[in-house]
């Protein structure tokens, strides 16, 4: 009987994985039946499968669904966006108001400067209460 050529390594791998077409499968089966070297190679592939299969699957600690759901819901994103926008606008306005208040103060003399450009309520410059600040902020943003 004529000795067939040894199959290439990738062919043997595909044969082992059951991925060859009918003709190629029959050819390799025929060869391996008569070839100790290729049979040994197939045994090695089988053993490698066992070795790799012995590793445990990593366990997901917790479902990702709650985070995925929270991130993708447009309604939530809209609400979150609005809330964030309002908070940011308030912070900016407060920062601006404080900046305006502190700007004209002469820290050396502890009194109002002559070059003040302040045109807002004077009560604010003389230590207005938080309610006054709020009123001013509201009136200036209307």
């Amino acid at each position: 009987m004529k000795e067939t050529k040894h199959p290439a390594g990738h062919e043997l791998q595909a044969y082992h994985d059951g991925e060859l077409g009918a003709d190629a499968r029959a050819r390799l089966a025929d060869h391996c039946e008569r070839c100790a070297r290729c049979r040994a190679e197939l045994d090695e592939l089988e053993r490698m499968d066992d070795v790799l299969g012995g590793l445990d699957a990593p366990e997901l600690p917790r479902s990702v669904w709650p985070r995925v759901a929270a991130a993708h819901r447009p309604a939530d994103r809209g609400r979150l966006g609005t809330a964030f926008g309002f908070a940011a606008a308030t912070a900016c306005a407060a920062g601006l108001a404080i900046g305006i208040l502190l700007g004209p103060v002469d820290f050396d003399a502890g009194s109002e400067t002559e070059t003040s450009v302040w045109s807002g309520p004077t009560s604010l410059l003389s230590g207005g209460s938080s309610s006054t600040l709020l009123e001013f902020y509201q009136s200036s943003t209307e």
Binding site: H10, A14, D17, V51, G54, P58, S63, W65, A69, H72
Partner: protein, 188 residues
């Protein structure tokens, strides 16, 4: 793939694309474990894998209306996860081994047959390490075949390549693993 309720992934995807959140939740809960396991094995980090697992489903949602229900959902989803993993690896620019979690084992005494030792489960860390040292694409093909039972065609779809390339990648991965494990063993 059929679930207990008999709804296929494709059917769920069509419903999810129409805004059905229950269908979306079913898909995520059905696939989050395999996707996470795949990402851990690709990246070697559970923390990063969890982040990218979430990202995978976010991208799935974004692309839901472009998905064609042709029975290749698994490949399609692993393509997304694989792209994210490769992108993360590129960013890290690493070729080093990262611990894949789990317990560390004592180094066993050398026996007469390296693979016999491995089969006894005494050197899982060495196997994990050897897998993580494989070149990226070889590792991806091997993981998809070995741990997710994808066919060559499904792997080719997931990796956007040909069946012939998958065959070569798997052969090279197996050869490299055998060499690596044998060398590691003889060096101890």
């Amino acid at each position: 793939m059929e679930s207990m309720t008999g709804t296929t992934d494709d059917q769920l995807m069509v419903r999810a694309a129409d805004g059905d959140e229950t269908a979306l939740q079913m898909l995520v809960e059905r696939w989050e474990r395999p996707v996470f396991a795949f990402l851990v094995r690709m990246l070697g980090s559970r923390e990063e894998a969890e982040d990218l697992c979430q990202d995978t489903f976010m991208r799935m949602i974004k692309a839901a209306d472009r998905y064609r229900p042709d029975g290749k959902f698994q490949s399609w989803l692993f393509r997304i996860a694989g792209n994210l993993a490769r992108s993360r690896l590129r960013r890290r620019k690493i070729l080093r081994w990262l611990p894949l979690g789990g317990e560390h084992h004592e180094t066993p005494d050398p026996g007469p047959d390296p693979l016999a030792d491995l089969e006894r489960g005494q050197a899982r860390e060495q196997v994990r390490a050897a897998v993580s040292r494989l070149p990226e694409r070889q590792r991806e093909a091997l993981i998809l075949k070995q741990y997710h039972d994808l066919s060559y065609q499904e792997i080719a779809d997931a990796m956007v390549t040909s069946v012939g390339s998958v065959q070569m990648l798997l052969h090279r991965a197996m050869s490299a693993l055998r060499k690596d494990l044998s060398r590691g063993r003889s060096e101890r």
